[in-house]
Symmetry: C3
Subunit: 311 residues, 3 copies
């Protein structure tokens, strides 16, 4: 594995998922990362990713350096060829070449702006990191994908040991427009496990074909929930009317009543979650969300370990 | 010891104070914290606590992860049952469960808002951490108490080896309304050492009975200073007219002249100190304040060591 | 070496420069810093310095604590004798005494304000750190000097193995007024290597005599570039009309055409660089800037190693 920016970087996703499950069942410390430095660069806020990736690196004996790039450092320019006489102070290509020269592995988080679909789906920040870094790059969530989260989610489902479960990715309400990254990535990874996957969302919220390929999309949430073993809730804004939040007629909040329509399904969410908006308190309080969060540590540790082995 | 949020968490406060004195006299490094992670969560600014606790953890071989929660991460919701469709992004209970899952010990700092006495004295933030954390919680100063500071202060007084000293906790001026945490905590810990303790403050600034129990409160600063061996200065806002700063007639700034009324007393303050407002330069420049600050490292180390031993 | 705040702190600058070259040629890890703590205090933004110094310390086995002092901690007062009833919360002397008590070596970054030349050239922040610190102090760039950068630059030039190269420090345009620190420091260090050094700048931008001593200053950029082996570009504001940016007639941006006037010179810059303002893209893209940035790690490591050996 050269980088970890999406499932397409992973030769054997099923083996990687199993590696995460094994770590969860038997946590491990090692010295493979001794005298190796992980640099974590954040353009956006982070709690789970920030902490779990640091913890994972420390489990492997790595040193970690964290940079809140726009706050601790200089304002970053992304356009090539710009005459930089405005507010931006350092070009992304210079920043990445320099940061990577102090690291053995680098992680970067950068969200979609939701202003220009083409721009976001070009993944300019992540692409610049991969292009200019002299070391492997891990996506800590990019404009359109969140592979560490999806790897975690696949491992969490696999660890349940349910045979060919029905998994519903359900859109849920949210007060602000959110990127499609977690949902895109979830669908992109789901073929790596043996599951029946359905995407449920209101009309106007269909995800990009690039990720929904062979997956059924339903517009009736109750119907989709029938016989489900896992309900994975997530909000996202429109892909078609990019970044918009078209009005939704029914209430898509996930409640105890809706969970009762399932096959005793486990509720999943990547967190942070808007309680009583995305899902009601009792649904969240009896869910897999904290196991998912903890599994982030094992997912990061498996990815780091593989990258370290291939250095 | 399960948590360290106030003296009531400590079975033998006198032994813990002595442990701090011993560390000060013979600093120690150990590996007891190897492969253990301390997570430090800050809702408010910190210098001494931030640095001394990191240093103490590193002395024990621990890894440390620091989170400035509202800046690096998501805005936190504290109300139970809220429909989270406003500005807050993650519920405290979710944040704490997740953070604690990556740590072996967790510290949290959160100040009083001084808007609602009942709210502050309920210690909602700290209480949520203790309730939802899966690991021991250390208070890095809470709304109403600052036990690491008080443990330090008791050790600093003990290390002086003065027999049954007279210790005066004296209110002093400050340009802004401050919480009562340091002072409450000082009085709460003072019975753990053999000392005569007096609280001196202007009328209207009396502290809560919960902490002044058997301790004399005087409204005449000069009188209180007579025969004192230690003057511990601190500003706080009113407990009765909660958070208010009633006008004070006399000048309560601690000066060389006032120190001359004492039994050659040592001046103490937890820092940061507003020079020439709380106390004059020469008083601060010949004081125990830097020894106190350094002793913060030993206090944190003793607490961490005990918690690690009990994991 | 007691501190590292300018070349005058270094007994044998040529030996130190060679030590950096050696580290670059053969990077090293050691345990000399085990149980030693480096405290890095930032009053201003930093990328290279922040990361390279952390990395260098970790190469030596040190623990590192980073403090963004005005953001993570308290607003700092610099005036002596002030009645601190305003916005500042902690006096620099108290902050430094306390921070240094938790560290074995301390670094500090603080930029010039460009408002008052006398104030800036007094180096109040750095001087306070040196005065009140109980441990060695490293300048991570001060108001008027940037010795870690200059040590790096001298090592980068030395590593090229060109015999007595001609080195041109050339002023270049920038949208904002910048300090003279990098340029002052470059000139101050240049006598430590065997080179012919010329300073090229528009009229009104002459640097202080204290640093240009025996060095030729030219106002014709093209003329200065003739036969040059290294072009070191940097913007700075006026020293005479302190902090001003007098209008400049010609275009001083460094272009491929201007580089063609040289003896196939290598382009250098400390970064961050405003692309197509200071120099054009092709000049930067075929330059030593990333080697310089990487050499910052070795410069910091050499300095830390020497300070650790002298503890």
């Amino acid at each position: 594995m050269k980088h970890f920016t999406s499932i397409t970087d992973v030769e054997h996703p099923d083996a990687l998922i199993q590696q995460v499950v094994n770590l969860k069942e038997q946590p491990q410390f090692s010295n493979i990362g001794k005298h190796k430095t992980l640099g974590l660069v954040f353009f956006n806020p982070s709690l789970r990713t920030r902490l779990s990736t640091q913890k994972a690196a420390q489990n492997l004996g790595m040193d970690v350096i964290v940079l809140n790039i726009n706050k601790d450092s200089w304002k970053v320019e992304f356009e090539d060829g710009t005459v930089m006489n405005g507010a931006t102070q350092e070009h992304i290509k210079d920043a990445v070449k320099v940061i990577s020269s102090y690291c053995d592995i680098m992680g970067v988080r950068s969200f979609a702006t939701l202003e220009d679909r083409e721009e976001d789906y070009k993944e300019r920040v992540l692409t610049n990191f991969v292009q200019y870094s002299s070391v492997p790059v891990i996506s800590l969530e990019s404009a359109t994908l969140h592979p560490l989260q999806s790897l975690t989610d696949m491992a969490t489902i696999t660890a349940s040991a349910i045979q060919r479960p029905k998994v519903v990715l359900s859109w849920a309400p949210h007060p602000k427009a959110l990127p499609q990254a977690v949902s895109n990535s979830f669908l992109q990874w789901s073929p790596a496990i043996d599951a029946e996957v359905v995407c449920a969302c209101p009309e106007g919220y269909e995800l990009s074909d690039a990720f929904t390929g062979g997956i059924t999309t339903m517009h009736n949430q109750e119907e989709a929930f029938a016989d489900a073993d896992f309900i994975y809730a997530k909000n996202w804004s429109s892909y078609d009317s990019y970044g918009a939040t078209p009005a939704v007629e029914k209430d898509w909040t996930i409640t105890v009543e809706k969970m009762a329509l399932t096959n005793d399904a486990r509720f999943m969410h990547c967190l942070p979650i808007r309680r009583n908006v995305v899902a009601s308190d009792p649904v969240i309080d009896h869910s897999l969300v904290y196991q998912q969060a903890k599994n982030r540590e094992y997912a990061a540790q498996a990815v780091l370990q593989n990258l370290l082995e291939d250095l």
